[in-house]
Each structure stands twice: as structure tokens, then as C-alpha cells.
Symmetry: C3
Subunit: 330 residues, 3 copies
């Protein structure tokens, strides 16, 4: 058998491909026998590769002169946007239809109509999504002394590369395509190291700097003008479970972060706690309780190397106004 | 010279390409003179790009309806698996042969035969690898309240996207192709931020959630039903070195994690220590000693903001049964 | 409308593409009205995808037998290098020209000449860049007991996959193409999780192991033979701002790390502090002050679980010679 790699020699007889394939088939059958997937488990499934292409077209339609192909210029911008949008929305409808059919609760014909309604609602939100993304880009430009222009932010910054897919995915999630939304979020996660669940709710002027290692959970709520740095976690503290031991799905279990909060690198905030408006959470802080608006929380740890160690507070400290708190990380 | 980018103008005479190329050649010759690579250093070398294609075909062969091309359906599934498997194994044999020749200890003809034996042994393990991957997928589905189906886990979760290549790479590593194994592991690392050395030994029902920043070292041993979260390190504490100062290769220097252990985000476990069966290691814990089965280890740190600070233990604390320990992070 | 995905059905009439495109256009116009971009804002812009191809060609030209296409062998190596170099430099000149024109301070004809000068200066530095990269590869091989050969390091290690683009980007940054430099750095960031700003200055024999989560800021200065591990941050502590509240750009605000320093995983060093030659900074240390040459800094934290806790120092401790400090992490 000749391969598509341009190599792969025909004397490959040390192994028996048919036998290995049969072994794989038997393993699959055993799994199916044990877990009894429903009749819909064998249908075609949404494709991650196809969603990567769709995401690329949607990004180009949102910001044609910066994220579109380099052939797009002012004089052909409008026709490019219509084309990219048209093919992306039609292809996305097919993917959403596959998601619905795979749930096995909707007949195929109804699934097509439902997918059409979801995409129509999603498409209506694209202009407002562009408007809120503009505020995100402005926030990144204003918040990073290394940024030279909004264009640099748009084509370079991983925070923007993650928040564009997040806002698209969140719309699909709200309109009833949570699986497609999750795949889009994981495409962005793979490219940026930033893991935002599409179920999270995030206000405008949101800036993630550097971003690698950021995790924002499914039920997190983030206000306006929030700024966070790399390796920040907005996570769950514990998972309630049912009487049979299975985890309860969908419970509000992640933090609420109010407007104008800044969270520095490596801070971990767990559970359904509230970080009050305007609070500043220092680097590496571990927080599992609510803090009032205007709080400045930092690790006592970094302070201890100086002066009279025994006189310093231990653990996380709440100060109403601490002008010496770190204001930046990069 | 016209480029393949569709641009690149012919008046590029501000620089002299031949002169720069000669400078690069001279630099290479100086390196070779200093380090005297053996006669095999100039042979062809395994190709990371080709291994990416092979990995994609193997993933498709293992899970054709979910990770194969979207053209694969129930009625052509069997023929796709045979084709993908056939070309991937043949191409992989060629890559393993390149690895063996580059070692310069085996004549080229013997290298081909040895590569064939390695691939035959690897191919035999593919069905059992599929079986253990099924347990990993089940563990992810059971362990994450945000997971809606095993299919979502399979096509989305970075932990699964890392553990599929890990189990393939580990088989190649054990059968004598450690370089190919390492390249495959680094392909997964680049896609997921999860860095599992192919020499590590990991039992079934293994679940990594989120995963970015996870590092598992070459001699780590992980039992059955272990669950770990993002940014967990199973690392080495120190490197023994030879009398001439070079590092000793291959010494057991990473942790042993027994069955049913849970390790929360950011925990760092260093050295050849043993984490006993059923232990729970809390977020951000820094651990360099063994802990007995059933231990619950957490940072005292996060507790200190509450109540009588001086009465709290300092540092990492071992409790036999602490029902208040964090049970989840996302 | 038929899509390029091979799907996309023609009955997509639940939504009106022209109307959505008009909504996107209106959003864009509102943004432009609010922010009044100059006349150059609409010019063509450098392309991230094109720079990915250029970076691939430059890597191949630097290390043809290892990072070039698998068709490159000893007998066609020289002609490959000339070809790859010729097309990459010409295409890079076009990208730099786009950067200059977009600044709107240079007429288009002068921009072409300036781009030519920048690329000529960059091209002259490629042979010395190859020489310093050789020292980086040697340092990785010497510093990691899991490394089997310099070739494995070159094709596998994310630290090398990040430092090759960094050294190219740093040259472009110094010669006057900071935007192109930043895009190249972000391509590497996306592939490796290692975020090195091209403005940082880094000496030879530099080794980053694992690397995911590393952040090195714009004004950091790193000496010779420095070794760092995953999740290390060399960041800023605060951002000076102008009277109008905007951040001051370009101030030296990141650490100076002198020769022969080792920084273990997760350490965070913030502000314009100096880490003296030969110092060792332990894992997870949080450092915002300068430390003298030869210092060994580690978290007291990890020590507290042992022996008489009250007798141990709290916080980060400076010891001139602490032979028990961790020497490795993986």
C-alpha cells in the first residue's frame, strides 16, 4: 500500500494491517457493548477541522483588513465580507445540525430547521459582537505599555485571539449549540493557552494580558472593564453530587467578578464568591471567600523578607487602600 | 528570485543571499569542527511535520467516526481504518529507521529490519491502547460536571488530546524508538500545553482537566484512576551527576503516584517520593516528601485569612480526613 | 452560495447575509468615527500567516538538515539554503514595508528603501545568530538528563522552538521593525506557551526547559548561561503613567538577570531588580528585590512541614550557600 506521505514502502509485511484493524474493531465493539450508546451515537459528528475554517472566516468577516486574507483591501473588503460570512454561516448551520441530531432527541428534519434558527439568531448578534470586541481591543491597548497600536493588539495579542472565539462561542452557547461552542473554545485554548468556557458571561473592555494558563469556568460572571493576567483561575471549589454519586451538572460554582477588578498573574479564585467592584487581587493570591468592593488583596508572603518578620500579618491580607500593591506584571 | 508567497520582488539587491548563505555555512562548519559529530550526524533525520501527519492518521484509525476526516461514516469506516493504519505504520517505520540510522550503531540494512520489528510490536499494542483510552475518556466524562457526552470529551478535551499521543509515544518508547516518541510527545505539548514525557508510566482511567502547564517527567509512575488538574508538576528535585560533571541519564528521579490519587491545580511534587493510594493533594501544594495512603494535603496558606491566625498550622499539613479540603478546581 | 468547505447548502435563507454584513460595516464606521484613525489605518497590514511561512523558511535556512523540509539532504543542502533565504528575505522586506507604511510617518517610496536597509542589516546578523543558537542548543543538551542528542533538542524542545524566533525577532526589533518582531514572537508563543518579548536582551547558552507559561518582558536583560524552567515570569511591578493617565511607554521596568543564574519553575521576579551572577532562585519564589551574586533564594514554605516549625524562617530566605536547595525540576 502506498501512502500519501510520499514514502511508505510496499514490503511492510512485518505486521498485518487487517489483523490490527480487526483488533481495533473488537475493542470498539466491547466498548459499545459496555456503554450501550443510543442509536444516534453512530451519526456523523461535528468536525473540529471544519470549525477551525469557519472560525477563520468569521474572524475575517469581523476584521477584514486585519484578520482576513492578505488579498483583502479597501476596494474589495465589502465583497469579501459577504462571501466569507455567507459560506461560514451556511457551514456552521450544518455543524449545528450535526450537534442536534447527535443528541438523538430531535428528528433530522426538525434538526435542520432548529439549526437554521440558531444560526439566524447568532448572525444577528455579529454586529454587536464586533462592537464589544472593539472595546476589548481598546482596553488591551490602554492597559499594556508595550502596545504600540490597536492593530498590533488585534493581530498579535493572545488575549484578543482568545476573546474573539469566546464571544462567538458564547453566543452559540446561549442560542442552543453548546457542543459547537465548546469546540470553538478549545480551538482558541489550543492556540493561546487561554481556557474560557463558552458558558461564562463576560462584560466589555475585557483584557487578558499574556494569558497562558488562564482558566475561566462555565458559570463564572465577569463585569465590565476587568483586567486579568496569565495563569489566573476563576474555578470551582467543590462539585455537588447526586445521591447516586454522579456530579450535578449546571450548578453555579464559579466566581462573580464585578466591574473594574484587576487580577494579577497566578491568582486562584475558587467557588461562588464575589470579588467586589474595583478590587485588586495580587499575584499568586489564593482566594476562596468574597471580598468587598475596593479591596486590595495581596500575599503577605512577598513582604516577609523585609524588616521585622514577626510583626507582619500572615496569609492573605485585606487592605482598603494599599498604594504599595503591585500594579502590573509585564 | 520569485518567492512562493506570491510576493517577493526581484530588486532585492540590498543584501547578497549567496554571501549570507556562505556565512551560515561557515558557522555550521565551525560548530562541526568544535563538536566533531560522528559520520552519522549528516544522515537524514526524522521529520516533525511527517510525524504530525502520522499521528493524525493513527488518531483517526483509533476513533474513526470522531477523529477521522468528516467523510468517514459507518459504511466506509472499516476501509478508512485499514487505509489510514496501513499508510501510517509504513511511514512510521521509515521514521523509526531514520532514528536508528542516526544513532550510528546499526548498519542501514539492519536498521530497516529493526524498525520493522519495532513497528510490528507497536501495531500489536494498538487495540489494547484503544481499550485503555476508552477508560481515560470515561474518567474525563465522569470527573467533569461541564462534560455533556463522551463524544464532547473525545473531540474537545485537551487532556484527551494529550493522552492519545502519550499512549502511542509510550509504546514506541518501550519498544526502542525514544526519539520518535519524544517528537510525538512534543507535538501534543505544543497543541495542549501538557508535557508528558513518553518514558512516564501511567495507568488507565487517567484524567487531566484543563491541563495547560502540566509537566510529567521521564521516570514518573502513575497508578490507576488518577485525576490531575492544570499546572501540576511531577518533577525531579535534583540531578545526580557523574564525576566529570555531566548529568547521569536515566536515574529514577520523579514521583510515584499510587491509585485513586487526586492532585489539584498548581501542585508541585518533586523527587522520587510516593503519594499513597487515595491521597488528595490540594491546589498549589509544594511537596518533596512521601505521604501515606489516604492523606489529604493542603496549603495552610489559604486558611489563614480566617479566624485566629496564630492557632493555625503553618506550611503543608497532613490530615488523615479533612472533609473541608477543596474537591475541585473548575 | 456554495462554500469552500464542500458543504453549505443553498437554502440558507433564515438569515440575510447582506444585512449582517451591513451591520458589521456600521459597527466599523462607528468605531472609526469615535477613534479617528489616520489615513494610513486603511492600508494593507503585515500578515501573520505570511510571517509563519517566512519563519519556517528562515528556520530551515539556519538548520537545513534538521528544520528544513525532509527532501533536504547533504547534496542539495546548499541550494536549498540559498533558495529559502532568498524568498524569505524578499517576502520579509515586503512585510516590513507594510509595517512602515502603516505608521503613516514615511512616504511609500521611502518606506521601501528603509525596509530594504532593515532587511540587509538583519540578513548580516543571521550567521552570528546561528552561532549563538548553537550555544543555546548545547546548553539544553548539557542541562537536561532526558536529552539524548543535540538533534533531539533541536527538533523537539519547546525552549529551542521559542528561542530561534526570539533571536530573529530581537534582530528585527533592534533594526526598526518592532511590529513584525512582535508578530514573530507571538507565533512562537502560540506554539510553545513561551512568551518572550522581542525587546528583551538575552545572552548566549540560554536554556528554557519545558517552558510553558514563561513570560519575559520587553526591557528584561538576561546574561550568559542562564537557565530557567516553566512558568517563570520576569515581569514589571508597576507601570509609571503620564499626567493624563496614559501609561508611559518604554521605561526600563523588568529584571536584570546576570550570568550563570538558574531560576526554577514558577518563580516570579518583578520590577527593575538585579539577580546577581550565579544566583539560584528556587521554585515558586516571589521576588521583588535585588539579590547579590551567589545567593540561593528559596521558599521557606516547603520546609515547614518538617521538624520544629516555629524555628524556621518565614518567607523568602537569602542564604549565601545552601547546598540543600532544589537543583532541578524535571
Amino acid at each position: 500500500m502506498t501512502g500519501t506521505y510520499g514514502e511508505g514502502s510496499p514490503d511492510a509485511d512485518e505486521w498485518n494491517v487487517a489483523e490490527i484493524a480487526a483488533g481495533l474493531f473488537a475493542a470498539r465493539e466491547d466498548w459499545r457493548a459496555a456503554y450501550r450508546p443510543g442509536p444516534c451515537a453512530l451519526v456523523r459528528f461535528p468536525s473540529r477541522r471544519r470549525l477551525e475554517l469557519i472560525l477563520s472566516d468569521l474572524s475575517g468577516a469581523l476584521f477584514p483588513l486585519r484578520l482576513g486574507p492578505s488579498s483583502v483591501q479597501v476596494d474589495n473588503e465589502a465583497s469579501y465580507v459577504e462571501q466569507a460570512l455567507g459560506r461560514a454561516l451556511a457551514a456552521l448551520r450544518d455543524q449545528v445540525q450535526l450537534e442536534i441530531v447527535a443528541r438523538c432527541t430531535t428528528p433530522e428534519s426538525a434538526a435542520r430547521a432548529e439549526a437554521g434558527r440558531i444560526i439566524a439568531a447568532f448572525a444577528q448578534e455579529l454586529p454587536p459582537i464586533r462592537r464589544v470586541l472593539d472595546t476589548d481591543i481598546e482596553a488591551a491597548y490602554a492597559g499594556d505599555p508595550a502596545a504600540r497600536s490597536v492593530d498590533e493588539v488585534l493581530i498579535c495579542y493572545p488575549g484578543i485571539q482568545a476573546v474573539i472565539p469566546y464571544r462567538l462561542a458564547n453566543s452559540l452557547y446561549r442560542h442552543g449549540a453548546p457542543l459547537i461552542a465548546r469546540v470553538i473554545a478549545e480551538i482558541a485554548h489550543s492556540q493561546t493557552g487561554i481556557d474560557i468556557h463558552p458558558g461564562a458571561s463576560i462584560g466589555g473592555s475585557f483584557f487578558i494580558d499574556h494569558g497562558n494558563g488562564v482558566v475561566i469556568g462555565e458559570t463564572a460572571i465577569v463585569g465590565e472593564r476587568v483586567r486579568i493576567y496569565q495563569a489566573v483561575t476563576l474555578g470551582a471549589r467543590s462539585f455537588p453530587s447526586e445521591k447516586d454519586g454522579t456530579l450535578t451538572k449546571g450548578v453555579a460554582r464559579h466566581p462573580i467578578v464585578e466591574d473594574d477588578v484587576v487580577i494579577y498573574a497566578g491568582a486562584t479564585i475558587l467557588g461562588r464568591v464575589t470579588v467586589g467592584a474595583g478590587a485588586v487581587i495580587g499575584g499568586n493570591v489564593w482566594l476562596t471567600e468574597s471580598v468587598p468592593p475596593g479591596s486590595v488583596i495581596h500575599q503577605a508572603f512577598a513582604e516577609r523578607a523585609r524588616g521585622d518578620v514577626s510583626a507582619l500579618p500572615r496569609g492573605n491580607v485585606v487592605d482598603e487602600a494599599d498604594s504599595d500593591a503591585p500594579r502590573g506584571l509585564i
